[in-house]
Symmetry: D2
């Protein structure tokens, strides 16, 4: 059975998802696309083959030729579109964040809880990165003892002009929040944001260090630096009682030239997490077929946003901030 996917959003992420779905995922076809800009839709149809075009994303969601929906439209639209998918009972993969506000996230999990059924997956693709998966596998294997500290690094080459200091938390650190929860299997109970000396190559507070205290005491320190210039670089080290696991910066070759031996950093998150994006989509398609959810749930999407919000408060106040979460509905355990 081939899953017919409708894609909402034909921008950078949407186009990338269209490419992966059309050229690298089994059991799926891109059957519909929606975007306010007709030209962007047309480009996707030209490049990746026949798909019907919808101006209104809700029409796409309701269309009988669409089995499942992939939301890659602007962040503030995510929550309403995810809810619209739930209205018609269709599986949906929503790019992070699940919704722009905690309240909207709560509505989504409330609706899933009411339906007694999980249809929403949130696109925290790092959960499919082989490095993090292996890190979690080794931790769960037990040989290294309990986790104690996790060091994370998240560096972009240069932030887009619309980026602001709070967005380091809501757009970037949110990945560190989700992946820490995934690897450690624990919730965050407190967030502190430390503000080091700023780079002069930006007008905002960049870098920031986000400290997460998990509910078993593990401390995660995540450096977020979105104007790091030298490359896109995401690292993590998990320090356990008897040993430590570190992600290896992915690279296929080293080159000895002009006095040094080097490997190249990717330009941004798409090449860095290319394997993760493919696996995420493949797993989503597989989960639709099998009915067994894979990837980050709506609950995970809600928590990431809630923890990021606590981070925003800490950034503003300079003080550690407690994270307060809803009770976890049974369907997410």
């Amino acid at each position: 059975m081939t899953i017919r996917v409708g894609l909402i959003g034909a921008g950078v992420m949407g186009s990338d998802h269209a490419r992966i779905l059309s050229t690298a995922v089994s059991g799926v076809e891109l059957s519909a696309v929606s975007d306010p800009e007709a030209a962007r839709m047309a480009r996707i149809v030209e490049t990746f083959g026949p798909a019907r075009m919808f101006t209104d994303p809700v029409d796409l969601i309701r269309d009988g030729g669409v089995d499942a929906v992939l939301i890659a439209s602007p962040d503030q639209t995510h929550g309403a579109l995810a809810l619209a998918c739930l209205d018609v009972g269709k599986p949906v993969l929503c790019e992070k964040p699940l919704a722009a506000s905690v309240e909207e996230c709560v509505r989504v999990i409330g609706k899933e809880q009411a339906m007694g059924k999980r249809l929403v997956t949130v696109g925290y693709m790092r959960r499919f990165d082989p490095g993090y998966v292996e890190m979690k596998r080794r931790l769960d294997g037990g040989e290294l003892g309990a986790a104690l500290v996790m060091h994370c690094i998240h560096r972009n080459v240069a932030a887009p002009s619309f980026m602001t200091a709070p967005m380091l938390i809501t757009n970037s650190a949110v990945h560190e929040i989700d992946i820490s929860r995934f690897v450690l299997g624990r919730e965050v109970r407190r967030v502190s944001v430390v503000t080091p000396r700023r780079t002069r190559l930006s007008n905002m507070q960049d870098p920031q260090i986000v400290l997460l205290e998990m509910n078993d005491g593990v401390v995660v320190d995540a450096e977020i630096f979105v104007n790091a210039q030298y490359g896109y670089d995401v690292r993590a080290e998990l320090v356990c009682e008897k040993g430590s696991i570190s992600l290896t910066p992915p690279h296929d070759v080293t080159v000895a030239h002009s006095g040094s031996e080097s490997f190249a950093f990717p330009d941004d998150w798409r090449p860095r997490f290319a394997l993760a994006y493919r696996s995420e989509l493949q797993a989503w398609v597989g989960a639709i077929g099998s009915g067994v959810p894979a990837g980050a749930s709506a609950w995970d999407g809600y928590v990431a946003t809630a923890v990021a919000n606590a981070g925003l408060k800490s950034l503003a106040s300079g003080e550690p901030t407690e994270v307060k979460l809803e009770a976890r509905p049974a369907c997410y355990s």
Copy 2:
């Protein structure tokens, strides 16, 4: 359009191809399988979904529900099956070697030449490994100047009991032969096999060093060691006039434990070249759709076997052996 693939051979490699085709490749479905052992066929159908079963592979090849054929049966059957595919004009991906003898390889390329059409792809999957692809890209980019020397290492944990000293060349070194031709874009004109001290953990001449002299003078030295014990390890360094490019041994994490920091080797070629196998199959499916061949051609399959044969002579004689090739038909240039 979905390509309906018939798989011949339900052993280790066949099952792996079935898995990849069914779970990780776009635009394809496994529609038929053939194997002398019914139980092995049945296992594939159970695991990867409905596919018709054929006792006789030629029936599968001729079947109207099969658009393209994947040959993963024992080596000595490859040539005849590939020819049978050409008889009915169907695209075929044949696991290496193309055929067990040079003569049979010549028949395949002769037939393609006669048909004026390339339908055969040979499964030298390394051509899709990101490391070798990047190595070739950097060489072709020109920044490092001309290639001069290429160092290759090919180590297996332990050879199966049927392995013999000549098979180090025909089964293992043949990959080094193909990938050297791919990266360097040159033919081999002479082969010498050097026989170092043997490991006591085998009864045959293991390791061997295979020296290839390319037709522009580049020398490739390839250590083949099929009882290396410690892990499956394939490496390559391309030394150029102004710099050098080396494959990085793939690994996602390093672990600090018990006094050392380490990364793990894969157990065998399947995890090591998992990305390459997937990309090879995806490229093959794409090439069927587009009509533009991708991957190693029948010519490449013939040359690899011819060069390996020269290697066998050198192993027997202890002397360098010239490689004599047929003229290259126009359809392969």
Copy 3:
């Protein structure tokens, strides 16, 4: 001219210094040794050649056959012995810490200031480690822009039984304090100690994360983990505006064996910093000859102890603690 050195303390560090002085440093001889235990003194004399033995270290300090003094006795004796050296105007290399209390450190710098002459060097040997030296050189070179964040890791295999939670700061973190000041060229203005989940392999708060805020806003985060089990591991990464510099864990070989490729960690700080210790002693001897001080000064020793004390307050209170320093005497600028 050969400098005649008197060594105070014949324990682990003292013996190591005796060995280095006697076998690897130019322009020096070990002429005297003092230790309360006669047997330990005798062992040094037997192993490293003729040196006079003193029961009372002050007799050694005052002896006419001693040109310079190396203090490697227990921490609480350092301050008084350093002052005794100043009394007789002899150069002294005092193992860290300079003194057990801030007050005693202040007495030493006060005395040097009064003498208008720097005779005291404190054994913060990392200032001679090639990695930190190169890190500083690259930062000072300017190509990477200003420093913003420094990540430090300090892990021991297992703490001795007398170790307590505060000693993670005074004995271990004190090295991170000194080397951060050295690399960054800045003073610390605030210290916070974060207490993650504890390892069950110790009875105290281990690990700890020490956050230093430098007076230009640079933030140093130093993980101190003295029961890390897997090896002695000291790392640092300096994140700058345009790039980042990391120490490479020193190792001479990698070994591929039993499924993985690995390098070994040193057992403790002596092999890890063997080059640094030799260079420190050589530089000290050179500085005595030239009159130009090298290495950490009494001021540096005082500051390290003062900052560590602020860290102790933060560990006890759970709050960030301001560092208050004496005015820096002119002789230390």
Copy 4:
């Protein structure tokens, strides 16, 4: 007791030895220097302190104020000067080669044999490089089984203008010959030189691959490339029955900058082998004191030259060449 060393040769290597002896070695002083150029001698005396100057190196050798001699003059003078040292019974460290001809080497070992005493050390400093030492230690430890193959790489940035193709063997490969013998503990029985495509950045046959067959069948393949442009790079991998040991290219830091992470190569052999040179000199001084020889003996110097000569024949003829050695005198076992 301080060993008074007389240095012959005040060029690049001589000056470097003077520096190391004067600033980094225990138990020694530079008491005399000899060079045909007075200005070069004067520079050494100015920089490294009082030493008497001799125009005639034999005067230096015979001088009563010289306990031991370090020969760093041009290659063709080595043999005669070493013999002159033996004439007066003084220990001598002779930079490699021991002598310019096999015959002269034989005279030196004959003389030592007649004296029944080893006074000559040859400056194959790699024997003191921590990486090779560790490689040998691990091999001798037995855990990895017997050695089978050794891969060596020897690359210089650019050859001096006087360099010729045969000098790749006599000046560069000679180091690989010596270190292979040292690590493997075996003699070479056959040498073949393979000549790959030449770099266009030189007028001679560069690179070359030198194959050594040891007398237990181990094969060493050594790539010599003296115009490699990108940096000074010496590597080695020792492949054993159960595992493999590789030298790590020494570097203290990595730098992430401008799209890649890199470490720097040294410019030439002096920084690369700085530790080895210091240890070699320290060991030589220690050996003079203890009477127990350390480092490469005159026999080792003779063999390296004899094997290199066989390499020259192979380079000229294109054929493998047998190595014929004198019987090994008892004093060298």
